[in-house]
């Protein structure tokens, strides 16, 4: 990746991080423990089904040329 693209990506991420942190700091969005009923629903999880996630990430990794964003160190295969 060209250096200018890499640093612009890092800058975008840093901005995103700052915005989210600012949102958290304002306190107007602070959700209290007793208000987290809906957040506790299974459908609200980012990673609800570990086996499905493994299968699907493997399928897309072997049929397309893009991957990543989810985690690190998952290991490879001869499928790509």
């Amino acid at each position: 990746m060209k250096p200018s693209n890499q640093s612009s990506l890092a800058r975008t991420f840093a901005t995103g991080l700052l915005l989210l942190a600012a949102g958290a700091l304002t306190g107007c969005a602070t959700v209290q423990p007793w208000e987290k009923g809906n957040l506790a629903k299974p459908e609200m999880a980012f990673d609800g089904d570990p086996l499905q996630a493994r299968f699907e990430q493997h399928v897309y990794f072997s049929k397309e040329n893009a991957s990543g964003g989810y985690g690190v160190g998952g290991g490879g295969c001869g499928c790509n």
């Binding site: 990746m1 693209n5 990506l9 890092a10 991420f13 995103g16 991080l17 989210l20 949102g23 958290a24 969005a29 602070t30 959700v31 209290q32 423990p33 007793w34 987290k36 009923g37 809906n38 957040l39 506790a40 629903k41 299974p42 459908e43 609200m44 999880a45 980012f46 990673d47 609800g48 089904d49 570990p50 086996l51 499905q52 996630a53 493994r54 299968f55 699907e56 990430q57 399928v59 897309y60 990794f61 072997s62 049929k63 397309e64 040329n65 893009a66 991957s67 990543g68 964003g69 989810y70 985690g71 690190v72 160190g73 998952g74 290991g75 490879g76 295969c77 001869g78 499928c79 790509n80």
Partner: protein, 392 residues
Amino acid sequence: MRSTHLEADGPRFTLPRASSAAPARDGRVGAVVAAALALPGIAAAQNAPESAVLGLKYLYYKDYQPGLDRIEVNSPSLYLLTPLGRSWSVEGSLVVDSLSGATPRWHSSISSASRMEDHRTAGDLKITRYFRRAVVGLGVAYSTEDDYESRALSADLRLSTDDNNTTITLGTGYTDDIIKPNPGSSVASDEAKRSNDFIVGLTQVLTRNDIVQVNLTHARGRGFYSDPYKFLDRRPSERDQTALLLRWNRHFDSVGGTLRTSWRSYRDSFDVRAGTLGLEWAQPIRTVTVTPSVRLHTQSAASFYVDPIPGTDVPPVVSLDPPFYSADHRLSAFGAITAGIKVVVPLGRSWAIDAKADYYEQRGEWRVGGDGSPGLAPFKAQFYQVGLYYRF
């Protein structure tokens, strides 16, 4: 690369998660940064999951193009997550793939298609330690098949605020692969491929109905990337990849459903730029949850991808001796759509069964943001999953 990280929908009784980029959350069920505390164990910021989970799932996959049935895969898998006391947990999975079928040796060439059969066994294991505001994990992964062996290590750290609404994730991994000679393969002796990867992520609870996550991953790999089963394939011996993933889960009280949106932006040193949009709507209907989903993917071609000669099925012609070339359709410019539906049925308090069906199609003309690669047949796939989860 297959990640230990998890995704998407789960059975009504919700699974604990302890994987590398999973947001941390409070063991006292109220505080949620990555949701799904509802029943069994929670990969909590402070405490190990409250209960253990055992999962079984079977995948059937097949792909094809007009006039040629291609690969077929049958893949049973197993998953286990268990707390060890209040501060530790162990998580692992095992999968055995059985593949067979035909693959074109260049582009979508039916005449060149060669048959193959392979079995792959892969497993991963992760140990997690929970502290008051931090969670640390260490993982290993191993995969073996006739012509390929992969070993990986990973470490991750999750830090959360006192109210558990904000979590930062930092992780790193190392992968060491060996590509081995095999009948039909152009590899004469063992080749190596090594990669370092990194993740930085932020998960934020925005409202009582919204949670978002931003992850940035970067991988730097060196080694053998060419496909040894393709007729002419010579790829660079290094590959740097960067991906930015944004995820947003929003619950709608009025209808009781949840919208899960994800966008992943990708670039690598092969010059491939890709964007992937995922949309899922989880709708509980009494105790059953039905989740239709759509995935849209678009990518540009690798800089060394070679188009077929128009109207022919002949091998790629590589003139002027470029340093790198490939006629692998997976490196071409295309758009792809997946449409799927999943049903989860809880059975009592401890069991849930699930079934999912997906249809996938990849076409050059579906590319967004540029011209798709010409001369390739539409590539299609169907995959089905049936699973069972048990909490104890």
